[in-house]
C-alpha cells in the first residue's frame, strides 16, 4: 500500500518576525523541504509614482526618502543626479564631496542593519545590538547635519539644503577611529563562528549568469563572483578621485555565491566605505552648497535614466519631463524589487529554516519593493 503524502502550504504571513517588512511568502512544503515559494508583495504600496506626477520636482525629494528608508541619502542622491543631468546643472565640488561622504556613511549604516538583523534571524541576538550601537553614532552625525535621523530631505536638486555642522568633521574622524575595532569584534563574534558558517555556507547559491539574467546587482551580484560596481564601472559624482577596492565573493567557506559570501561582502564593503570617507574628509574643498540651486526647476522636454549604487544594488530613476513644473513620469527601478524575483529560485530544495537564512542574506527592504 503506497502512502499518500500531500504538500503542505505554510504561510509566512505579512506579520512575521523575520520577513524584514510586510512580505507574504507562501511556502509549499514537502515535509521540511521547500518545493516552491511564492512571494506576495504590495502591502506597503504607497503610490509614490502617482504622487510624484502631482507635485513639483523639488517636492518629490521627501517622497524619495521614504522608499528605501534604510538608505535615504542614496535615494535622494539618485534623484538629484538624474535631474541635474536632465537640466545640465553643474554643482560645486564641495557639494559633490559632501554627497559622497553622506552616501558612504549611509552605506555603512544600512549594512549594519542588514548584518545585525541577519544575525538575529539566525539566532545570535547579541551582534544585533552591537551593530545598532555603532549605527547610533552615524545617525547622530546625520542628525547634527540636517536635523533628522532617518528621512533627511537633505540632498536637493543642484546642491544641498544646508552646509555641514562645524563639529561634523571632528566627530566623523572619531567615529572612524572607534569603528575599526568594532568591525573586528563583529567578525570574531559572528562571521567566523562555526555554527553560523554551518547555517550559511553552501546555502542558496546564486550563479553569476542567473544573477545577470534576473537583473540582480549590488552586493548580491558581487558575492557571486562578478566584479561589477557602478561606482567604478559607470562613475558618477567624484568617486573617481578616491582609492578603494571592490570586494568580490570568493567562496571562502563554501561555494561562491552562497549566503556566507553575501554576508561577508557587506562586512568588507563597510571597510572600503571607511577608506572612502577618510579620503573625502581630507580632500574636501570649501564652497557654497546652495549656490547652484535654480530658483524654478523647469527642465526641458525629454527623458533620462540614471543609476546609482544603493547599498542594495542599482537604484535607477527614469524621469520623463514634458516641459512643465511637474514630472510626467517618475519610475524607480528598485534593486530589492528585482532581487525578490530570483528568491524563489534560490530557495528550491532547501528547508524552512534556510528560507529565513536566504531572505536575510539578500537584504531586501519592503519600502523599496512596493514604493
Amino acid at each position: 500500500m503506497a502512502l499518500k503524502t500531500e504538500e503542505m502550504v505554510l504561510n509566512m504571513g505579512p506579520q512575521h518576525p523575520s520577513t524584514h517588512g510586510v512580505l507574504r511568502l507562501e511556502l509549499k512544503l514537502d515535509g521540511e523541504i521547500i518545493s516552491d515559494v511564492i512571494p506576495h508583495i504590495g502591502y506597503l504600496h504607497r503610490c509614490f509614482e502617482k504622487h510624484s506626477e502631482a507635485m513639483t520636482y523639488p517636492q518629490v525629494i521627501p517622497y524619495t526618502d521614504r522608499m528605501d528608508y534604510l538608505a535615504s541619502m542614496y535615494n535622494e542622491f539618485g534623484y538629484a543626479l538624474a535631474m541635474e543631468r536632465l537640466m545640465g546643472i553643474e554643482v560645486p565640488e564641495r557639494v559633490e564631496y559632501i554627497r559622497v561622504i553622506m552616501g558612504e556613511l549611509q552605506r555603512i549604516a544600512s549594512h549594519l542593519v542588514a548584518l545585525g538583523t541577519y544575525g538575529a534571524d539566525i539566532g545570535a541576538f547579541t551582534p544585533f545590538l552591537f551593530c545598532f550601537r555603532d549605527r547610533e553614532r552615524i545617525l547622530h552625525l546625520f542628525e547634527i547635519t540636517c536635523g533628522a535621523r532617518l528621512l533627511y530631505n537633505y540632498i536637493w536638486i543642484g546642491g544641498l539644503s544646508n552646509d555641514l555642522h562645524p563639529d561634523f568633521i571632528r566627530l566623523t574622524k572619531e567615529f572612524i577611529k572607534d569603528f575599526k575595532p568594532n568591525l573586528k569584534e563583529l567578525n570574531d563574534l559572528l562571521s567566523y563562528n562555526a555554527i553560523f558558517i554551518e547555517r550559511t555556507a553552501n546555502v542558496g547559491v546564486l550563479p553569476p549568469d542567473t544573477a545577470i539574467n534576473y537583473g540582480v546587482t549590488g552586493p548580491n551580484l558581487r558575492a557571486s563572483g562578478m566584479k561589477w560596481d557602478l561606482r567604478k564601472d559607470d562613475p558618477y559624482s567624484v568617486y573617481h578621485k578616491f582609492n578603494y577596492e571592490i570586494p568580490v565573493g570568493s567562496g571562502a567557506k563554501g561555494k561562491i555565491g552562497d549566503c556566507w559570501d553575501r554576508y561577508f561582502i557587506r562586512v568588507r564593503e563597510m571597510e572600503e566605505s571607511l577608506k572612502i570617507i577618510e579620503q573625502a574628509i581630507d580632500q574636501i574643498p570649501d564652497g557654497d552648497v546652495t549656490s547652484a540651486i535654480p530658483k524654478r526647476i523647469k527642465p526641458p522636454e525629454g527623458q533620462i535614466y540614471t543609476r546609482v549604487e544603493n547599498p542594495r544594488g542599482e537604484l535607477g530613476y527614469f524621469i520623463i519631463s514634458d516641459g512643465s513644473l511637474n514630472p510626467a513620469r517618475v519610475k524607480v527601478r528598485a534593486p530589492s524589487f528585482v532581487t525578490m524575483q530570483v528568491f524563489p529560485e534560490l530557495c528550491k530544495g532547501w528547508m524552512v529554516a534556510d528560507v529565513v537564512a536566504i531572505l536575510g542574506s539578500i537584504d531586501i527592504v519592503l519600502g523599496e519593493i512596493d514604493r
Partner: protein
C-alpha cells in the same frame, strides 16, 4: 532526614510527606524561577552593552513580580478550533514533568525529597513526560507553526536523551550506585574527590578516568542543554522562524506554566550535572561547621554550595544562549547521532575497561 524530623514533629506520615514534597516547590523552585527570569534579562543586557530593566525597584529587581502580576491578570484565550482537553492539559504535563524531578535531588545532606534508591533513572524517566506535554501542546493548538515546533522538539529531546543516559550509565558503572544521595556522599572531603577529577579512589584508576570524565562532562552538559530547548538548540521556540513554536497559542497563566517549567528544567539539569560531576552539595574546601565545631551549620553550608553550583551552570547556559546562533534541525540531529553518541559510547567502553583494573 527531613522526613523523619517532621514525622517526629507532627506524628502523621501523610502531613510530613506533604510538607517534604511541597517544600522544594514553594521554598526554592518558584523563587528561583522568578529570579532566573530577571537574571536572564540582566545578564543578556549586560552582555549586549545595555542595561536591561532599571525602573521597577532598585535597578529592576522587582521586575519579575510585575511580570507575574501581568501574566496572572491576562485573558485566558482558547482558540475555538483547538482540542480543548489536550490544550488545557498540556501545560500541566510539562510543568509536572519538570518539577517532579526535584523529588530525587538532594539539596543538602539533611534534605532530600524522597529517599529513592533509583534516583537517576527516576529523574530521566520523569523528564520524558515533557515530550508528551509538548506534543500535546503543538497538536492541540491547531496551528501549523506549533505542530512543526512540537515535532521538532519531540525529535530533539528523544535523540538527546541517549547521550545523557550513556554518560549516566558510565557514572553508575564507576560508582556502583543509582541514588543521587549516595553519589553526593561518595564525593566527600576536598574537590579532588569530585567525579570530574576521577572520583574518590586514589591510584592509577583516578588518573586514567580523568580525561574520560572531562569529555563526559562536556557531552552531558551539551545534551542536557538540548533537552531543555535552549540555544543553540532552541529550534522549537525559534522566534524568527516559527514565531513561538509550540507555545504560540497560549496566553496568561498557561503560558506562565510553560515559562516557569523551562526555568525549573534548566535548574534541574544543572543540578544533575553538578551532582554527578562536581560533588553535589559537598564543599570544595571542607566545612566551616567542622572547624568551628557547630554541627548544625553543615547542612546550611551544603545547601549554599549546592545552590551556588547549580546557579553557576544556569549562568553558563544563559551565557551560551546570548552568544551562539542556533542550529538547523538536520544539523542538530547529525550532531547528536554522528558525534555525541559515538563519543559517549567510547567513553562508556573505556570506563568499563578501566574499572576492571
Amino acid at each position: 532526614m527531613m522526613y523523619e524530623w517532621l514525622y517526629d514533629l507532627t506524628g502523621s506520615s501523610i502531613l510530613s510527606m506533604f510538607i517534604v514534597s511541597l517544600l522544594p516547590l514553594f521554598a526554592f523552585i518558584l523563587p528561583f524561577a522568578l529570579l532566573a527570569v530577571l537574571a536572564e534579562r540582566k545578564v543578556s543586557a549586560h552582555m549586549q552593552d545595555r542595561l536591561g530593566p532599571m525602573r521597577v525597584g532598585y535597578h529592576g529587581i522587582l521586575q519579575t513580580i510585575a511580570d507575574i502580576i501581568k501574566l496572572l491578570q491576562k485573558e485566558d484565550l482558547v482558540p475555538s478550533a483547538t482540542d480543548k482537553k489536550l490544550f488545557n492539559f498540556a501545560p500541566l504535563l510539562v510543568f509536572t514533568g519538570s518539577y517532579a524531578a526535584f523529588a530525587a535531588i538532594p539539596f543538602s545532606g539533611a534534605f532530600i525529597g524522597s529517599q529513592i534508591e533509583l534516583g537517576l533513572i527516576y529523574i530521566v524517566a520523569v523528564t520524558g513526560l515533557v515530550v508528551a506535554g509538548i506534543l500535546m501542546a503543538g497538536w492541540a493548538s491547531n496551528n501549523k507553526y506549533s505542530l512543526l515546533g512540537a515535532m521538532r522538539s519531540a525529535a530533539q529531546i528523544i535523540s538527546y536523551e541517549i547521550p545523557t543516559l550513556l554518560i549516566i550509565l558510565t557514572i553508575v558503572m564507576i560508582t556502583g550506585t543509582l541514588s543521587l544521595y549516595t553519589l553526593s556522599e561518595l564525593q566527600t572531603s576536598f574537590f579532588w574527590n569530585w567525579m570530574i577529577f576521577g572520583g574518590p579512589d586514589t591510584g592509577l584508576q583516578k588518573f586514567l578516568y580523568l580525561p574520560l570524565m572531562l569529555i563526559g562532562c562536556l557531552v552531558i552538559y551539551i545534551s542536557t542543554l538540548a533537552e531543555v530547548n535552549r540555544t543553540p538548540f532552541d529550534i522549537p521556540e525559534a522566534e524568527s522562524e516559527l514565531v513561538s513554536g509550540y507555545h504560540t497559542e497560549y496566553s496568561g497563566m498557561k503560558f506562565a506554566m510553560f515559562f516557569l517549567a523551562e526555568y525549573a528544567n534548566m535548574f534541574a539539569v544543572s543540578a544533575i550535572v553538578a551532582i554527578i560531576f562536581f560533588g553535589g552539595y559537598q564543599s570544595p574546601f571542607g566545612y566551616l561547621g567542622n572547624t568551628l565545631e557547630l554541627q548544625w551549620l553543615i547542612p546550611i553550608e551544603q545547601f549554599f554550595w549546592f545552590t551556588a553550583k547549580g546557579l553557576f551552570f544556569v549562568f553558563v547556559q544563559m551565557w551560551l544562549r546570548w552568544t551562539l546562533p542556533r542550529f538547523r534541525v538536520d544539523q542538530l540531529m547529525a550532531f547528536c547521532w554522528k558525534y555525541l553518541i559515538p563519543i559517549a559510547f567510547v567513553i562508556l567502553l573505556f570506563a568499563g575497561l578501566i574499572s576492571l583494573i
